[in-house]
């Protein structure tokens, strides 16, 4: 039944309500179409051109930019780095935020204050955070190396060594994002009915068993949501790398030592705005778009096996 038919059939009051519904949703939908839908389609369009962004006469090259993508060692490294980063964030951020959520879900001294402290990085600007972390990660004067020194560790060249650049990026991003996921997990935990735990207690289940058999399965919708949003955000990593690794060289692209912190979006940005390859950058955007769609649909398919929507 189409909207028109439904409108005709609905009572006048219902009809007015629906009309207002459309009026309220309209601006948002229009905003999404103009600022997200159109640029996405337009990105596909310009990815078929060799275009310098400021050039007046783009050359149509068909799939030329995509051929260049698969033959560009720098891009392939950016893809690899991005996957390593995403994996690092998922592996460390989700368990850590779950752990914190479980901790704060019980009554504990200064619980509320600690929650605020853990949440503070989330509401702090990424640029400011990255600037501070440049100092935290400094080889000779950094506070992180200072603490590691207590355990007898040598100074780690976080920002100068290609082997440490990605761990540095992951550590900072986990610190920045863990509070947000923690709050979501706390909300998820609050939604689990206490009757399950009471029943498990009567049956003599250990706390660990309760966690594995009750908490984790019933928290799975929250975990899915967190995994999806964290993953999508992580694939788009840009500002952290740009700020953390800039300043090392004059006009640095922020790709880190030997491109070790080069990520897809950073490479895209540099191609579009710094190196005059807007068409090529658009092809990278399309590539990222396809990757995200693919991974999201795989996750949505797999969720049937492990997500339980009955709390």
């Amino acid at each position: 039944m189409g909207i028109r038919t439904r409108l005709i059939m609905a009572s006048p009051r219902k009809r007015t309500e629906m009309m207002w519904g459309f009026i309220f949703v309209g601006p948002v939908i229009l905003g999404i179409l103009i600022f997200m839908g159109f640029p996405t389609l337009y990105g596909f369009f310009i990815s078929t051109f060799k275009w310098t962004f400021i050039g007046k006469n783009p050359d149509f090259i068909g799939l030329g930019n995509y051929v260049r993508l698969v033959n560009d060692p720098d891009f392939l490294q950016a893809v690899k780095n991005t996957f390593v980063y995403v994996a690092g964030i998922l592996v460390f951020s989700i368990p850590l935020s779950l752990l914190l959520a479980i901790m704060f879900n019980r009554k504990m001294p200064f619980g509320e204050l600690l929650k605020i402290i853990y949440y503070l990085p989330v509401i702090t600007m990424m640029v400011a955070v990255s600037m501070v972390w440049r100092w935290v990660l400094s080889t000779e004067y950094g506070i992180l190396n200072y603490f590691l020194g207590f355990f007898g560790a040598e100074n780690v060249p976080w920002l100068n060594d290609p082997r440490w650049a990605m761990p540095a990026l992951i550590i900072m991003s986990v610190w920045k994002g863990v509070g947000f996921n923690m709050v979501l997990f706390i909300a998820g935990l609050k939604n689990i009915s206490s009757m399950y735990y009471e029943a498990a207690d009567i049956d003599g289940a250990s706390p660990f068993r309760q966690f594995i058999s009750i908490t984790l399965p019933l928290l799975s919708p929250t975990t899915l949501f967190i995994a999806l949003t964290t993953m999508m955000n992580s694939f788009q990593i840009f500002a952290q790398a740009k700020i953390l690794f800039s300043g090392a060289t004059e006009e640095s692209s922020g790709a880190g030592p030997d491109n070790a912190a080069n990520t897809i979006v950073l490479y895209l940005y540099n191609n579009a705005f710094k190196w005059g390859s807007a068409g090529y950058a658009a092809a990278q955007g399309v590539f990222l778009f396809i990757i995200l769609i693919m991974i999201t649909s795989i996750q949505m398919k797999l969720q049937k096996r492990w997500v339980h929507y009955d709390a």
Partner: protein, 425 residues
């Protein structure tokens, strides 16, 4: 539902058509603004904006029909590109030399030759021919940008530290013709103590030292010589300043406290940087004597790096005629005198640069000549894929040497390989 789909389709169509017109923009007739408002985009903070407003004040008083709106956006380069791509550029913008080449290549700059020919203020003979040539079309020789000012890298030094160590100052050595690279290193070593370094050099500005060792590293716009013994020698020289001689801080130390701050805190005897730092130190009123001297000489000739910036009028500017009047004034003798007097930058007009106005600027005894001694050199040739090669490939790889991750030979060989590929892209 069908109607909604049709409506959405229509919205897309309109948007697509309007954006596609971006590509076509500028090919059609341009609409000339009758009024005299000129949008002027520049980089820098509030202080620099106020300085330029000061330069323009006499001009605006003489021309009440005109107003100049100065815009200083963050991320200048990105914003300018976006405005140009969108067909709504400012009437005047700053173009660094590499950016000038890029915009001119894309046909995004107005040909200024007809304005220059008709002008009674513009005088080509009063500019360094190399500077004008740099901002001209290589085939027709037409001017597409007028040099705004230039900056050469020089050595700033702390006079008090030299005096305390009983050493002749670099200026004294220079005047005696003894300001060589060996002498430079020798005094840097003597002046390095537990509290201060003999030299402060930001590794990111490696370009400053290259011309001394490998003056011909840019062979043509499509050929660079990087894995040569000369270039490798230059890289090793910079690296040894810390690793072997300990006269320059490590990259990490410089990231922690910048070389500019170290110099002003008296933690460095010499500091290699451009003219813009003079104004900063002047305003900071440093608690010690300081002066400048050209880079060390080889065979009586100083080798340095020249940064140049020009004024350009984007091809789609709404008010190019009025924009020219502003540029004409700022690059004319009248407009350059306040630039010279303030000491803010090296004037591009030869008559002004050589005049007392500039040479007496800053303070009495200040060696302004250091900045103009070597301005005969034109800026470096801009090769293909310049920004990606120069800043990102070379800068990033050389940084591996300066942080002990690679040898100069390895880095230069890798750079050569990458650069050869990028030059063909």
């Amino acid at each position: 539902m069908k109607k909604m789909l049709r409506f959405t389709g229509l919205v897309f169509l309109i948007l697509a058509l309007s954006t596609m017109s971006v590509f076509a923009a500028g090919e059609g007739e341009k609409e000339k603004e009758a009024g005299g408002n000129v949008t002027f985009m520049m980089w820098g903070g509030a202080g620099e904006k106020a300085t330029v407003e000061g330069y323009l004040a006499p001009f605006l008083a003489q021309n009440p029909d005109m107003t100049v709106e100065i815009i200083t956006p963050p991320e200048y380069g990105d914003v300018l590109q976006t405005m140009v791509a969108g067909g709504t550029p400012p009437d005047i913008a700053y173009f660094g030399f590499p950016e000038f080449v890029q915009y001119h290549k894309e046909g995004q700059l107005t040909n200024l030759q007809k304005y220059a020919d008709a002008s009674s203020v513009f005088d080509a003979a009063d500019f360094n021919p190399g500077h004008l040539a740099s901002f001209s079309d290589t085939a027709s020789g037409d001017l597409y940008s007028i040099p705004k000012d230039l900056s050469t890298y020089v050595v700033y030094y702390n006079e008090d530290m030299f005096d305390k160590a009983g050493l002749p100052t670099p200026l004294e050595l220079y005047n005696k013709g003894e300001w060589t690279m060996d002498k430079f290193l020798e005094v840097a070593k003597v002046l390095t103590t537990d509290d201060a370094h003999g030299l402060l050099f930001n590794y990111g500005r490696w370009k400053t030292f290259i011309p001394y060792f490998a003056p011909d590293w840019i062979e043509s716009t499509s050929k660079l010589n990087i894995d040569t013994p000369e270039f490798i020698q230059a890289v090793n020289y910079i690296n040894d300043l810390n690793v072997k001689h300990g006269v320059n801080p490590t990259p990490d130390q410089l990231r922690d406290i910048s070389p500019a701050d170290r110099f002003s805190q008296g933690k460095g005897a010499m500091y290699i940087i451009g003219r813009w730092m003079t104004m900063r130190y002047l305003q900071a009123d440093l608690p010690f004597g300081w002066n400048v001297v050209p880079m060390p000489e080889k065979n009586g000739k100083a080798h340095t790096w020249v940064d140049m910036v020009g004024y350009g009028i984007p091809a789609d500017a709404k008010n190019p005629d009025a924009a020219w009047r502003v540029i004409e004034y700022l690059t004319g003798v009248e407009g350059q005198i306040p630039v010279a007097e303030s000491g803010h930058a090296i004037p591009v007009r030869l008559s002004v640069a050589d005049s007392g106005a500039f040479l007496r600027s800053v303070r009495s005894g200040f060696n302004n000549e250091a900045h103009i001694a070597i301005t005969d050199a034109a800026p470096v040739l801009v090769f293909d894929n310049f920004v990606k090669i120069f800043y990102d490939t070379m800068g990033a790889k050389l940084n591996l040497v300066f942080t002990g991750q690679a040898s100069a030979e390895e880095a230069c060989a890798e750079i050569q390989e990458t650069v050869d590929r990028l030059l063909k892209e």
